[in-house]
C-alpha cells in the first residue's frame, strides 16, 4: 500500500517537472527573448528570417525614445529621435539617415499586418544603440541608455522637477558613472543658464520667447510633454462647469461678479470675482493669455484687478484661502484644497487632453545649446521612451508621443 502511494507521488512529481521543462523548451524555441538595458521587454518580438532578426519598428522606437511615423498614402516611413532622423520607403532596402547619408539595410522593411517590420540590429545601430544576438540562448541584448558617459547639468522648471529627478535616478541606476546635476527654478532662469553655459539643457514649461529665440539662434527646442492647465475655484464655490467663453469673461475682467456666471447659485448677495494669475514670465500665464484671452479678443488683456502670484503653489494657496477666488494651475497641483472646474462639460483630466477637448494645454520643452548629441540626446530620448513616458504619466503630465506625435516630427 505504502509502496504504491510512494510510486504515485514519484510519478506525479516527475510528470509536473517534465511538463514544466517541456514548456520552457517550447517557449525558448518559439520566441526570442529581448533584453533592453538589462530588462526583459515584450513590445519587441523579433522573428528570424534568413538569419536576420526582424521586428516591429514601432516597438523598437518606443523603447529607444524615437517617434515612428508611417504615411500610408505617400508610402514613406520616418523615424525621428532627438539626434537621428531615418527616412525610407516601404519595401525599400536603403535608408536615408540624417538627411543625406544613404545606408544599405541587410533586408528590406515590409508590412506585416498593422506593423512595419525592420531589421532590429540594423535599426538599433542606426539610432545609436548596440544590439547583440546570442543564437544559443536565443537572446537579443540591446543596450542604449545603459552605455552613457559624461556629465549632464540640467536647469529645470519647478513644475517638472519631480519628473526630471525620477528620470535622472533611473538613468543613474543604469549608469553609475554619469555625473548629473539638477537645479530647479523658473523657466527663464533655466533658459538664461542654458545660454551662458551653466546648464547643458534647460527644461521649461513654455516655448522660447521671440526675444530668446532671436538673440540665441543656437538654442534648439525639443518638445517633450504636455501639461493640462485647470481653472480652479475655492471648494466653497458651487460652480461646477463653465464654458470657454465664461473663462475668458472672468479672466479678462468683463464679468466682475460670480452671480452672472451660468450655473452659479447665489443667495442674493453680489459676489465679486477675485482673479489670481501668475507673475509675468510664467509659461502657464503666457499660454493662458494666448489661448484664453487673445483667442477671443485681439486686444484683450487680463483683468486690471488680477493678482499675480509667483508660482502654481501660491496660486493654489491664494484660491484655497479666498472663497471668491479664481485661478489657473497645472493639473498636478489640483488637490482637496481647491476645486477644478469642468470646461464645456469636459473633466479636467488626462482623457480630455488626449481627446484634444481641453483648451488650456502647456508645452514642456527641453532646450539645448546646439543640436542635441551624446548624453543630451540620450536624455531627451529617454523622456520619450517607454520608461520615461511612464514617469511623466505618473507625475500627472501627458507625454506627447501617443497623442501629439506629429508635433515631434515637424
Amino acid at each position: 500500500m505504502r509502496i504504491r502511494l510512494l510510486c504515485f507521488h514519484v510519478i506525479t512529481v516527475m510528470l509536473i517537472t517534465g511538463i514544466y521543462a517541456a514548456a520552457l523548451v517550447v517557449k525558448n524555441n518559439g520566441a526570442i527573448r529581448v533584453e533592453f538595458d538589462g530588462d526583459e521587454v515584450s513590445d519587441i518580438q523579433p522573428d528570424e528570417s534568413n538569419g536576420i532578426l526582424m521586428a516591429s519598428a514601432k516597438g523598437i522606437c518606443d523603447e529607444m525614445g524615437a517617434t515612428f511615423y508611417y504615411d500610408k498614402i505617400e508610402n514613406n516611413i520616418r523615424i525621428v529621435s532627438s539626434d537621428t532622423t531615418v527616412e525610407t520607403l516601404l519595401n525599400e532596402n536603403r535608408v536615408d539617415v540624417n538627411h543625406g547619408k544613404m545606408i544599405e539595410m541587410p533586408a528590406a522593411c515590409y508590412q506585416d499586418g498593422k506593423e512595419v517590420m525592420f531589421p532590429v540590429e540594423f535599426l538599433v545601430k542606426v539610432l545609436g544603440g548596440e544590439a547583440r544576438y546570442d543564437s544559443s540562448s536565443k537572446t537579443l541584448d540591446i543596450r542604449y541608455f545603459s552605455k552613457l558617459k559624461g556629465n549632464l547639468k540640467i536647469g529645470g522648471v519647478n513644475t517638472f522637477l519631480n519628473v526630471i529627478q525620477r528620470s535622472l535616478d533611473t538613468l543613474k541606476n543604469m549608469n553609475p558613472d554619469i555625473d548629473v546635476t539638477l537645479v530647479g527654478g523658473g523657466s527663464s532662469s533655466a533658459v538664461s543658464g542654458c545660454i551662458d553655459g551653466s546648464y547643458d539643457i534647460a527644461i521649461i514649461s513654455r516655448n522660447l520667447t521671440a526675444d530668446e529665440a532671436q538673440y540665441n539662434k543656437e538654442l534648439k527646442t525639443y518638445k517633450t510633454a504636455k501639461e493640462g492647465i485647470a481653472v480652479i475655484v475655492n471648494p466653497s464655490n458651487n460652480l461646477q462647469n463653465i464654458t470657454h467663453l465664461d473663462a475668458y469673461n472672468m479672466f479678462s475682467g468683463k464679468e466682475k461678479s460670480w452671480n452672472k456666471i451660468k450655473g452659479f447659485e447665489s443667495n442674493g448677495h453680489q459676489k465679486p470675482i477675485f482673479v489670481n494669475i501668475h507673475e509675468a514670465g510664467s509659461g502657464t500665464l503666457g499660454m493662458f493669455f494666448d489661448v484664453g484671452i487673445r483667442a477671443f479678443d485681439e486686444r484683450g488683456d487680463f483683468a486690471d484687478t488680477a493678482m499675480p502670484n509667483a508660482s502654481n503653489g501660491l496660486v493654489r494657496q491664494a484660491v484655497a484661502m479666498e472663497p471668491l477666488a479664481l485661478g489657473i494651475v497645472g493639473f498636478s497641483y489640483i488637490d482637496n484644497s481647491v476645486k477644478a472646474l469642468k470646461i464645456n462639460g469636459h473633466e479636467p483630466d488626462e482623457e480630455s487632453v488626449k481627446s484634444k477637448n481641453w483648451p488650456y494645454i502647456n508645452d514642456i520643452n527641453v532646450i539645448s545649446r546646439n543640436e542635441a548629441k551624446g548624453i543630451v540626446a540620450k536624455y531627451i530620448n529617454f523622456m520619450h521612451s517607454v520608461k520615461g513616458r511612464r514617469i511623466i504619466k505618473e507625475e500627472g503630465l501627458i507625454n506627447i508621443d501617443d497623442y501629439y506625435a506629429d508635433e515631434r516630427l515637424k
Binding site: 520667447t209 526675444d211 482673479v275 507673475e279 514670465g281 486690471d304 484687478t305 493678482m307
Partner: protein, 344 residues
Amino acid sequence: MQEQLVNLTKKEEKKEAEIKNKEAQKTKIVDSFFEQIILLAAFTSAAIIVIIYIFIIQKSWHVFSVNGFRALIESGFDKQIFHSFNKTKDVDVWKFGFLGLIAGSFCTTIGSLIITTPVGIGAAIAICELSPKRLRSTLMTFVRYLASVPSVIYGLIGLMAVIPFIRLFITEDLQNRYIDRFQITGKSMLAGIIVLSVMIMPLITSLTIDALRSISLTYKEASLALGLSNWRTIKRVLLPLSKSGIITGVILATGTAIGEAIAMSMVIGGKGNIPNPADGFVGFLTPVLTLASAIINKSETLTSESTSSALFACGVILMIACSALSIASKVVHHIMNRRLNGDG
C-alpha cells in the same frame, strides 16, 4: 681686564642694537606691506560701488533714454512688463512707467516710519531710562536679536498671521464696492506697513539706545540737581542731545524699509496700484508693489532684453534713493555735531 670686559659688553650691545634695528626694519616692511593691502581693499570696496552704479545704469540706459522723465510719472508697470515679455505686435515693448512702484515704496516706507519712529524712540527711552536696571541688558539683547531675524521669517508671519487678521475686518460689501479697482483680500499696503514696522523698529530703537548711552552722565545729573523732573530731563536734555543719533537711525531705517524685498513681496499683493487718499482707510487695503519686490517678483522675465532693462531701472531708482539717504544721514550727523560743538 676691565677695559676688555667693557669692550666686550659694548660689542654685544652693538650687536644687539643691530639685530634690533634689523628686526625693526623687518617689521616696518611687513607693516607697510599690510597697510598697502588694507588700503587696496578700501579702494576696491569704493570701486565696487562705482562699478555697480556703472553696471546697472548701463543695463537700464535704454529704458531711461526711451521713456525719459515720463518713466517716473507714468504707471502700469505690471501690464507693461507682461506684454513686453510675451511680445505681441501691438505693444511698445520699451514703454515702462514706474510711478506705481515708486508710490508703493513711498507709501509703505512712510507709513511704517510714522508708526515706528515714536514707538521705537519710546521703547529706547523706556529701556534706557525707565526700566529697572537689572532688566536693561536683557531687554537690549532682545531688541538687538529682533534686528537679526531673517526677513523671510517676518514675511511668513505676515502671510500667516497679519493677513488673516486684516481679513477679519473685510466685509463682502467692501469687496464688492471696490472690485472695479482692486481686490480686497488682506494682501495690501497695510499688511506691508505692519510687517515693515516690526522689521525696522529694532534698528531705530537700538540706535537711539546707543545715542542715549553715549551722553555723559553729568548732563543728566546737572538737570536733576536743578530740580527738573525725570520726565522733563528726558524731554529737554537727553532727547535733544541724542538727536543726531536718532535721526541717523531713522534714516538708516528708511533705507532698510525701501530696500526690503522678500518679506514685502509676500504680503503686499504684488500689484502696482497707486493708493488713492480719497478712499480713506480703505486706501490702506490697496494691493501695492514696491520697487524692491518688483525686482524679486518679476525676476522670471530677466531673460528678455527690454524687461531685464526695466528691472535694472528699478534697481537704479532704488540705488539712487538709498545713496541719497546715506548721504543725508552723513550731512545730518555733520550739521548736528557742528551745532552742538558751537553751542558748547
